[in-house]
Symmetry: C2
Subunit: 185 residues, 2 copies
Amino acid sequence: MSKIKDEVLAANEAYAADFGDKANLPMPPGRGFAILTCMDARLDPAKYAGLAEGDAHVIRNAGGRASDDAIRSLVISHKLLGTNEWFVIHHTDCGMETFTNEVMGELLSKSLDTATVDDSGWHDTGAGPGSEEGRYINWLTISDQAKSVRGDVARIKGHPLVPKDIPVHGYIYDCKTGKLVEVTG
Amino acid sequence: MSKIKDEVLAANEAYAADFGDKANLPMPPGRGFAILTCMDARLDPAKYAGLAEGDAHVIRNAGGRASDDAIRSLVISHKLLGTNEWFVIHHTDCGMETFTNEVMGELLSKSLDTATVDDSGWHDTGAGPGSEEGRYINWLTISDQAKSVRGDVARIKGHPLVPKDIPVHGYIYDCKTGKLVEVTG
């Protein structure tokens, strides 16, 4: 048995025991917007943006990047479920700033196990076996957060399946303060 | 100005005002696991699975599908940030069960604006212009939730960049009760 699984199921039981009116929430987001943000464990978009269940779509991946899959999700969000305003929210101290495609391809070629990191960068545990597959993936790493937010907002706005009148706001979440800082320009 | 933006920023200000110890959370998830789930507005994974800030990675897209981008995120989650146990959580009454690739391609070819739905299916507003681009995307729709969970768990487990010893649990979240129901087999 898994300790984590037991903990998740116990927390879920407590949540479901006090579910109340949430059983009747409709499928389309009540407040008509969507947030694209990072999977980072320190981020809780419902808390940092004030969302209750039923309010908004939340899309999350490594970096909060405007990947093809994030755009798939955003287009479904607008076209079928009516969201009309979107937020792209990256954050300070993001793991995506700590490596490059080349580093990740090299690490994975040596071992699939978790690597270690120090001031000189990422190091493999040497636990092997690895796979060459990592060299064929674009990991969507980030070298500058403001630039990645601007680039992702531009990619979304310029996508042929995105209507020109949907506002797309760019923000950086500060992990030290909990604050959202707008990225302009 | 945007009313939604004002509301999000006001909620964020309140959250940041009581940020406390969260400023010191490290980047790697404290409880060492990751959840892949749907972007659906009714789902709050932090609440339904009992997560505090810092606990776990949360990856979300339309359907909670094991897309290439979700796998990119999961591999980063394990290889660089040490998660060792993953959950794939789809849900009842999912929007991804209401259409097919053909329906979405056809709807988008007529208009990018939000479609309407009734018992006979999706209908366009006729507000044009549309785009043919939607026909070139795999929307990863779902015809059977248990089957999609099993398929996504199998895709993740079989991926060449995923170590064989990472447990991947499959669940369906019930939107009427808030309960997680395990998908076995």
